[in-house]
């Protein structure tokens, strides 16, 4: 999983990001992230937006990565009814700008 780190102040971001919003002098460089984290919050979307009707209902996670920043992601694998805050997750893929994580267990 790729992240962006400011080469001046070290702040980390999940892409896309165009500018370091913390300092004036840095450039954002691609770095490798562990891809590991845990569920910070979650929900199941049952009234989908345009274009996602055939995937409804689907889970969305707000993941707190081990690096201390958050990412909103879909889950890969089969639908789950039992996801809990604190469950361990790991990055699977980024497809057309959408992140997919696997729930471990």
């Amino acid at each position: 999983m790729e992240g962006l780190r400011c080469d001046n102040c070290g702040k980390l971001y999940v892409p896309p990001k165009y500018l370091c919003t913390e300092c004036d002098n840095g450039k954002l460089r691609i770095v490798k992230l562990s891809g590991k984290g845990e569920v910070f919050s979650h929900t199941t979307i049952r009234v989908p937006p345009l274009g996602l009707e055939d995937q409804s209902p689907y889970e969305l996670l707000l993941v707190r990565l081990d690096e201390g920043i958050n990412i909103t992601t879909r889950i890969s694998g089969k639908k789950r009814e039992d996801i809990r805050i604190g469950d361990k997750v790991c990055f699977e893929k980024k497809e057309e700008g959408v992140y997919f994580f696997q729930v471990m267990s």
């Binding site: 009234v47 989908p48 937006p49 345009l50 909103t72």
Partner: protein, 386 residues
Amino acid sequence: MRRVSIIGIGTTPFGLLENKGLKEMGVIASWEAIRDANLSRDKIQAFYVGNFNSGMLERQETLAPLIASNLGLKRGIPCTKVEGACCSSSIAFREAFLLIGSGVYDIVLVCGVEKMTSASRALFTAGLSSALDKETEGIAGLTFPGFFAMLANRHMHTYGTTIEQMAMVARKNRKNSVVNPRARFRNSVTLEEILNSRLITDPLKLYDCCPVADGAAAVVLCAAEMSEEFTDQPIDVLGSAQAFGYSTLYEMNDAVSLPATIIAAKQAYEMGKIGPEDIDLIELHDCFTIAEIIDSEDLGFFAKGEGGRAVEAGLTEVGGEIPINPSGGLLSKGHPVGATGCGQIYEVVKQLRGDHENQVEDAEVGLTHNAGGTGAVVTVHILKKR
């Protein structure tokens, strides 16, 4: 900055206004406000319109001069549209406040208007979603119920807030709007009905979510020193603040607060030299039941995490210590997105005039809180009866 006052208010009902389009609703609400202010139209020096989605939902843009023409405002005055999602017309109100306060104008008309019910559900859902960050969470499939559901799950986990406490917010606001002729819903619902309603986005159910609506509301603002020419019940703007927050869920460090609310509230209280303990009633942004709980904490009425328990204890009923949303709020009065900001101000002005159907006794100071989208932009206004 000189003192600014509200001298007139007007509105349409909020709801399914089948035969009424944007222009007509804007004219009805604005004309009522102008008449309420005992004002002749040509005295209005500028016009601000708050609207969110007229382009997408009605294929109609450039609303401000359009409504001005149909209203008969003095040809040539500046007419400006303001957009900030759900916060659009309270930002418009603030623009008028700033221009009068700084002496540029003496009298400004503000109108919020939205038409949503002619659009299909897929279209207005797409319209609402355009307030998200399309490039990140929009494409991931997040929706507004989804955003607030994530906050709900986190709030429950961190503070022990319950689904029943959230349902009590819906029950209270439905009960509050029974007597409000401007409200979309005029019937109460029981806790059981709320808890048994269908899931929209876990854990939020149907009654946890505000309904779309059509509607318009308008306000005439005037320099305080001139206000008594027009009304014997001027309402003074004690505090006005606007702050930007986050357009995404993932960039918020925690998910139990809207940081822009905290910032705007602090600024408004400081401007008014007043604190939460001085506020007699509140119309805040209950787009979802959990939003009312979170807003009530972020505005300083309850400690962080205590908002759910406060509702359960009855503190936020009309007769309680901290009356919240006596109008029925967005949950029950309805949320014609661009009109809500002025709609909240309308309700508070009626309360402060002692003229509200669900009157808070001895109301002298009221607060409105309006949050756009994910709390990307938030306004707080504090109004006082002179």
